[in-house]
Point group: C2
Chain length 288, copies 2
């Protein structure tokens, strides 16, 4: 993962060059929100998925970087005072604290724009049909019926008691869809057949669900120093999570079951999918 | 223009269907920010540009609708308290007043996402190369080196004295680039040659500049009832415009000069570009 993180960091550096002029400030804020942080799990999914189909590594890194830009934009906007109002992100002041609210809004907006630009750009090695499909798939995952829809449900539901089913749907939209896109992107780039693409999508769905439950366990058990963000905030905000419904022990068991199920979707890929299998085990054992 | 406005309205209705579930609220806010308002000048440019190359009208309407979504997203975010803090838009409460700030942030985000999804979607009649090129061109016009960059410059420059050249650059980015995209989109869809595409781009640049200066004159001279938005707000905010630098009379003369120049770029298209020529004359004589 650290090798991929370095490659994606280099791609992001390359794709977000600083310029002169007064618009420089928004590019600085985009870089602040996007560079130098995170495990790059989403990009790792793209890179490892693409490797199954022998996709050019530099091309996959750019698609991974685009996905990380969308993830970063969602964090920048999520942290805003009108949203989750969080001052800490990846162990640093969140974007609107380091800059200001207006700049953080614009930086998030422009990170999203840049992500789609990168996917559509002609200098990738993939064909235009694949690039169009990537844009459409990422938009579906990120939009009102995906990540943004999940954030809306999360806000509407604040303080309400949700069932395990409702929480599962909320989290599938809010964090799951983007992770699923990461798992599928390599198949889109590699023009894989429907069976292989569906196997990776199913892997991404289960991995995303396992990841989110594990994240909720960490939110309750971890410290801010381990997490690099405010700990216990979902609980404090009265947000329903699998931990609040099932308790820590059963939630952890559920995450482990989902991670094992995720790995089983990869059987047809053999040894080449080894790192994707390891990732599934990792997301439920990590401490940050 | 009203015929095109109706067609684009129908396309937007079609592209933003309401759904059930708690995410419905963000779709309602997207529709609120996007439907039932505006002259749809940007979509008109797309439709009339596309007509020059005999592009399927329904396909052009969808591209025009996508451009209007990006325009609407920028207005929803611009009106936020942390940005221009404006309560009135198109004669109605702005999105964050009708809903709330968090919903307006998410709705703007999702409108941008949906715009790129619409451009990339496979059911348009255009080829994938053209769809990719549209995504990349719209992203370039909307991003940190386009509209968002212009908004950043505008905020950084607030209260400062700018030269006419600096204002021209600011406005070319902030409102010009999206208008230029509208003028060029038909040529991209119609796979036009570089000479025709450049002619339309030059028309769009001059039209956008004329439009913005005329808008600044209206902002100073119009009433809120005529404008459907708060009048005199740029002046009150200490924002530099061509009116504050040149005065009303010279600013108006400058806008008329640019509109005439815009129309001249269309000479090679003959009578078929008649409505685009009329639009150039209209933007400098309109009262709202």
């Amino acid at each position: 993962m650290s090798r991929v993180a370095a490659e994606v960091e280099a791609a992001l550096e390359d794709l977000l060059p600083l310029t002169e002029g007064a618009e420089r400030r928004v590019i600085e804020a985009m870089r602040y929100g996007c560079l130098g942080g995170g495990k790059r799990m989403r990009a790792f999914l793209v890179m490892e998925g693409a490797r199954l189909f022998n996709v050019d590594r530099r091309c996959a890194a750019r698609v991974g970087a685009a996905l990380e830009m969308v993830h970063a934009y969602s964090l920048v906007h999520d942290d805003l005072p009108a949203m989750d109002d969080d001052d800490l992100r990846r162990g640093k002041p969140s974007c609107h604290k380091a800059f200001d609210e207006a700049t953080a809004i614009l930086a998030g907006d422009a990170l999203q724009t840049r992500a789609f630009e990168v996917l559509a750009e002609a200098d990738t090695h993939s064909n235009p049909e694949a690039r169009c499909e990537l844009v459409a798939a990422l938009a579906l995952a990120a939009g009102a019926r995906g990540m943004v829809g999940g954030q809306m449900i999360d806000m509407v539901a604040e303080g309400q008691v949700l069932t395990a089913e409702e929480i599962t749907r909320l989290q599938a939209l809010k964090t799951g869809r983007l992770i699923q896109f990461g798992a599928e992107a390599g198949a889109i780039l590699g023009r894989a057949g429907p069976a292989q693409r569906h196997a990776l999508a199913a892997y991404g769905r289960d991995l995303g669900a396992a990841f989110q439950i594990a994240d909720d366990v960490l939110d309750q058990e971890g410290t801010a120093a381990e997490l690099g963000k405010t700990a216990g905030k979902d609980l404090a905000a009265g947000k329903a999570t699998m931990v609040s419904v099932l308790g820590v022990a059963r939630a952890r068991a559920q995450a482990e079951m989902l991670a094992a199920q995720a790995a089983r979707h990869l059987e047809s890929f053999g040894a080449k999918a080894g790192l994707l299998r390891e990732l599934a085990a990792y997301v439920v054992t990590r401490r940050n």
